[in-house]
């Protein structure tokens, strides 16, 4: 057998969104009610939220994730896993996607595509060709 071992292309991708919350009475996000779902997509490595209040943006949060593979597939899997949470969050966001998100997938895709502020060239992963399952399988 030959021993040619190609280097697989990177499959991990970053996605970052700044979500600006509507201001005024009744617009506050009740964090106790927000649960992204019992099982997040198994192509999701990491997800975290940062308040941008220290930057003088008290109503804005930064959502960052790292996922495997195709952008649109990832969004669809995220919708499938977390549509109930999104339906609570999106009405509170300025110019947010339409809800219910299960019936308005394209609106969600368009919103994320428009507002994705990554990836920046400096995205680094120590194992960019490893999917979530590969890491769990090691």
């Amino acid at each position: 057998m030959s021993t040619v071992i190609p280097t697989p292309p990177p499959i991990q991708h970053p996605l970052s969104l700044v979500l600006k919350l509507k201001t005024g009475k009744g617009s506050e996000v009740n964090t106790d009610e927000i649960n992204l779902g019992p099982s997040l997509p198994d192509i999701l490595h990491f997800a975290w939220v940062i308040s941008l209040a220290p930057l003088g943006l008290p109503t804005s949060i930064l959502l960052s994730t790292v996922y495997d593979g195709d952008f649109d597939v990832y969004l669809d899997k995220f919708i499938d896993s977390s549509h109930e949470a999104f339906d609570k969050i999106f009405p509170l966001i300025e110019d947010g996607p339409k809800t219910p998100v299960l019936e308005n997938r394209q609106s969600f895709h368009d919103y994320v595509r428009k507002n994705n502020i990554g990836p920046l060239p400096t995205f680094f992963s120590a194992y960019p060709t490893m999917a979530v399952a590969d890491i769990l399988n090691c």
Binding site: I11, D42, I43, G69, D70, D76, D134, L136
Partner: protein
């Protein structure tokens, strides 16, 4: 594979053949012949359907040829590249001239010949042209395929349909995942096209050539290189022993007494028994994903029982039936079999589009030892494909009017 030179000829043929088409009516005695009919987008257009306003899904309208050319890499790979590219497809499937794919399922050769004669006569009378045909048969017996595996063990349980013979513990799948006009998973409506609002569906028709020589040569070489029994490698690549025994239920040896289908991967999360990259684990994820990516398969092998180096082509042909070609058929092929949605370190070893640019690793565990198989090539190539719309009976009557 049929071409309709004119709308008038096409309508005449569809009207003639419609009474033969098998319906959903339950039978007590299996008929000698069953017939299914599917139309490509070119076929519906030839019958006068306006493809841009009929409410057909966009991937069907675009068609298997365009999709195959368009989606090769990197994150949405349908695998129809190189020798599998549409330009190399047989029976007119790569030309856009195929309008109808008529499938005849017969109990025996006599019934097949009788059915063929009937349909051929209808084609001649109507003035439509046959571009070619592809025979397939359970020549190996026991639903075996040329790579040696017992096949067709896992099919979805569909809400409203009779239960499967081989039961499993998987959730019942919403009717709309397989029949248009009903709700799909998550109660999302999945309507049919305007000319056929309910009871039609779509299929991806495929002719897949299996390189049986290369497959068995690889098994022998890998057995020597990695110091593993050949039948173990064969089982790990599939996720089942050749007799169909699931590895998660019997990891060390085939067992005729264990269920063929009543299992999931809850107790094998680290994939020590069934490799994460194996064919069945990445094609039907069971508890590891939702029921939104299921397929109903109607396929059979073609070519005679395997004889090494005889130069005869062998493979599989049939329909992958679903109501969303993009969310079901294409998703499984592009994200799980050829993609990184399951593992970034390999492609599906049995049907994946593997070449020098794709990761060749296949990680398996045997007797507590980790082995990383490399250097297997592409064992399955596409010889033809078409996206079909399978109308309801009333839809056929509309199309022929």
């Amino acid at each position: 594979m049929i071409n309709m030179p004119s709308a008038a000829a096409g309508k005449k043929f569809v009207a003639a053949v419609t009474p033969l088409i098998t319906t959903a009516t339950e039978w007590k005695v299996k008929p000698a012949q069953c017939y299914n009919i599917g139309f490509t987008a070119d076929g519906l257009s030839a019958l006068g359907i306006n493809l841009s306003t009929a409410g057909l899904v966009p991937e069907f309208v675009e068609g298997a040829i365009a999709r195959g050319v368009k989606y090769v890499k990197p994150d949405y790979d349908l695998g129809d590249t190189g020798t599998s590219a549409p330009g190399n497809w047989i029976l007119g499937l790569g030309s856009g001239g195929v309008h109808i794919i008529l499938s005849l399922f017969a109990l025996d050769p006599e019934a097949r010949d009788e059915g063929t004669t009937t349909v051929t006569s209808m084609m001649t009378d109507a003035g439509v042209k046959q571009l070619g045909f592809q025979d397939a048969d359970d020549t190996l017996g026991d639903s075996r395929v040329h790579f040696g595996y017992h096949d067709s063990l896992s099919q979805p349980n569909i809400d409203g349909a009779p239960p499967r013979n081989t039961q499993d513990n998987q959730p019942i799948v919403s009717t709309g995942e397989f029949v248009l006009g009903y709700n799909a998973e998550n109660s999302v409506p999945r309507p049919g096209p305007s000319f056929d609002p309910a009871n039609g569906t779509y299929s991806a028709f495929r002719i897949l050539k299996q390189d049986v020589d290369a497959f068995y040569e690889y098994l022998a070489e890998a057995a020597a290189d990695y110091d593993l029994p050949q039948e173990v490698i064969q089982a790990k690549l599939c996720g089942r022993w050749a007799d169909g025994t699931p590895l998660v239920l019997s990891p060390d040896t085939p067992d005729p007494d264990v269920s063929r289908n009543n299992f999931d991967y809850s107790n094998d999360k680290p994939a020590r028994s069934c490799p994460i990259a194996s064919h069945i684990r990445r094609s039907q994820r069971r508890n590891e994903d939702t029921q939104q990516h299921r397929l109903l398969r109607r396929a059979a092998p073609y070519g005679p029982p395997y004889v090494p180096k005889d130069g005869i082509e062998r493979g599989l042909t049939g329909h992958f039936i679903c109501t969303s070609l993009q969310q079901q058929y294409e998703f499984i092929i592009s994200q799980w079999d050829n993609g990184s949605g399951v593992t970034g370190q390999s492609r599906d070893p049995l049907i994946g589009a593997i070449d020098d640019t794709t990761p060749p690793d296949f990680l398996l565990y045997w007797k507590g030892e980790k082995k990383r198989l490399k250097n297997f090539g592409r064992f399955t190539t596409t010889r033809g494909g078409a996206y079909c719309y399978l109308p309801s009976i009333s839809g056929l009557q509309t199309l022929s009017a």
